[in-house]
Amino acid sequence: MKKLGDVLLQPDSFSELLMGNHALVRAMLESGVRVVTSYPGSPTPEIGAAITSLPRDQNPLYFEFSVNEKVALEVAFGAAVNGRTSCVFFKSVGLNVASDSFVQLGLMDIPGGMVIVLGDDPGANSSQNEQDNRHFGRLSYIPIFEPKDPAEAYNMFKEAVRLSREKHMPVILRLTTHVCHAKQKIEFAPLKLEEQDNKPGFSPEKYGPYIPLTSSVFELKKIALERLKNFQEEMEDSPFHEVINNGSDRGIITTGLPFKSLMEVLPEIEEEVDILRLGVVHPLPEKLIIKFLKDHGEVKILEELDDFLEQKIKSLAYDHNLNTVIEGKVDFDDWIGEYTPDKVWDVLEKNWPDLLSSREERKPIHQAIPRPPQMCPGCGHRSAFFAIKKALQKEDISVADIGCHTLGYLPPYSLGQVLLSMGHSSGTASGLSLFNTEKNVVAFLGDSTLFHAGLPGIINSVFNQHNFTLIIMENDTTAMTGHQDNPGSGRNVRGETKKIAIAPLLESLGVEKIFEIDTYSQAKLTDYVKKAVEFDGFSVVIAKHPCMLKFSREQRKKGRTLKKVQITDKCREIHACVSAFGCPSFQLNQDGAVWVHDDLCIGDGSCIQTCPVQAIEIKK
């Protein structure tokens, strides 16, 4: 068996089929990174999984999942100003949380070097938006590399470290979902783990000032701009830019994965066009772009998400009096969704209908029934939603938050009517409860999210005496992103740690009304929620049950077989189990009979209490 950790630590060069996120860890090892931090979020958490796969005694990396992205970034920054090369990685929207500290990084002299790996998510595969984080690079004077595939991500990471160290500046490696997760055979260089010294490198005298206040802000900003300019000049002829010349008068400027999509559809296009693919998307290699514009009568900017390149390239053309026809986004559809090969075809067709013919979508004879994601069999969140629904009035307002429990917004529970971001729920619920005497307001919050960004909203509810009920969906883990530990788990990536228990924490904050109950005690939970909602003021219900996906996986790993439930002949086909409780293990025949799918059932038995005629039992 090839263990990932062993593969990544091989001293000799080798080639292996690996996904982008895993290949990055080899790049970290090869380039002497020492400190890596993160908060989990798709599409990047597998980077963490690859780091933790390294055998403990051979792992030169210090790694932590911090409580949120801002703290993760600060830990990485602290290490890097102390001379330790660091890397922080997180998902697209993670940068919003980190941004208050992030925007300062460009102003700082970072002798150790620091790489920020961003997992953007065009197509919103697993995010609440598809924000284009290239804007953040411009906002903060920080350069951005953008690889087209895993092999290039591996190589670019090493180049980013090199430049970051040399220029003492932060560098962004911007990945997108299908670069993170794509798998390909990658050629890896040899690995020589060098002994590194632990001498403190932090020196405000030598590298500072590090206090950006009063006039030093202007000085630091000027240095940041100079560093960026210097970076730009060095990157003009970077091998990560690519020109494909077919001698055409038409050209396309593109980047990253959209380039690969373009290459995919190119053979089907009537005429061969020229391509300039940019490996650095901020700051732009201006000379290279100007030359490409001059060489072509017509240039299409093919870019996913926003018109980031388009604006800059058009202004370059204006400044240089070029009369090349530059075509960017045509309509709003061009701003939306991932640039897959199919999408690239549709986008190009709008500009060049003479080169690409319209593709008709074939209508299938029978459409497949949609399959939205749902909570797992045995999930404690399901028991919670089933019980909470019984405690609320139809008109009550429910505020969702981010995590597996967001799925409660779907039928049959339909709990959760508004969602902004991780930890928003207390704040939003507070606002909803103002000038509102008719409807109760209930908010949900996961345990990882409570520690991540939920606490300020809770404290504000105490401080400003808001009137709503917060239901904390505690499952001891960060479930949605793959079961990372959180401060309530009593474990971190290295082993045991102090567990921060939620109820005492809330008590110490002055929350007056706190109920706590295992969600499998459904009737009690219903009762507690009723009482909490009746309470005039801020109340909290901690609805807890350990994540059952994690539990059932652990059981299977230990070779234990899980029990199953079955339907007995007491069944009256009331369908509470299948339609209202909605565990996916229950299957409904056309004739109304219900049965339990053994592939799905984990025998947790949380369903037994949902049957009004006691027709569910554990199979002997």
Binding site: M1, K2, L17, S42, P43, E46, N125, S126, D149, H178, H181, A182, K183, Q184, K185, L257, K260, S261, M263, E264, V265, T340, P341, D342, W345, E361, R362, P364, I365, H366, Q367, A368, I369, P370, R371, P372, P373, Q374, M375, C376, C404, L407, L410, P411, P412, M480, R556, G559, H575, V578, S579, G582, P584, F586, Q587, L588, H597, D598, D599, L600
Partner: protein, 191 residues
């Protein structure tokens, strides 16, 4: 090797990631160029999960709609979805008859005869239909090794043979888990 594109589809929890990793590694062991990509994240919670595997020279890890040479469906409703969206005319559909009812069926909002829908589509577009053997398994996730064995037995992926699949399994598993999987593999392969 000529281009050959495989699209896999199933339900979160069926273990599609491991199946696709095994197939990709088998292709690599057979000496062909391969790349691919899987779904991660939200959809893994009981939603539709998909995976792309591309053999031979290709650029994007993603396959265009209606252009896959082979669609593998781990669940019957998903087999229909994959067939409709990704399989080319005259391609091959390999699927398992396992059914995990979608929510709409369980809450009585929808229902369909999926086998008939698949048959109609295959018939219309001259698609070769292969149904994976139905055998009793102690764990539903072992269905994946049945799919592997059928791929090997029916020589569905050109040039990828029994030995390549078992090498791939050995890359990814060890001990009793490997033994159990190899046993089912050989059993279904008919050796």
């Amino acid at each position: 090797m000529e281009k050959f594109d495989i699209y896999l589809i199933g339900v979160g929890g069926q273990g599609i990631g491991l199946l696709s990793e095994t197939i990709a590694r088998a292709i690599d062991h057979a000496g062909f160029e391969v790349q691919g990509v899987d779904t991660h994240g939200l959809a893994q919670r009981g939603g539709v999960v998909e995976s792309y595997i591309r053999i031979g020279p290709s650029h994007s890890p993603l396959i265009q709609k209606g252009k896959a040479d082979l669609v593998i469906g781990l669940e019957i409703n998903e087999a229909l979805r994959g067939l409709n969206n990704y399989l080319r005319d005259e391609g091959t559909l390999l699927y398992s008859q396992t059914e995990w009812q979608p929510l709409a069926v369980r809450i009585k909002e929808d229902r369909q005869d999926v086998s008939a829908a698949i048959a109609a589509e295959c018939n219309e577009r001259n698609i070769k239909k292969v149904i994976a053997d139905k055998i009793k398994l102690e764990d539903a996730r072992m269905e994946n090794v049945v799919i592997l064995a059928v791929l090997a037995r029916e020589k569905i992926i050109p040039g990828v043979k029994k030995g390549h699949y078992s090498l791939a399994l050995q890359d990814l598993m060890a001990g009793p888990v490997l033994d159990k999987n190899l046993e089912i593999f050989l059993d279904v392969f008919g050796d």
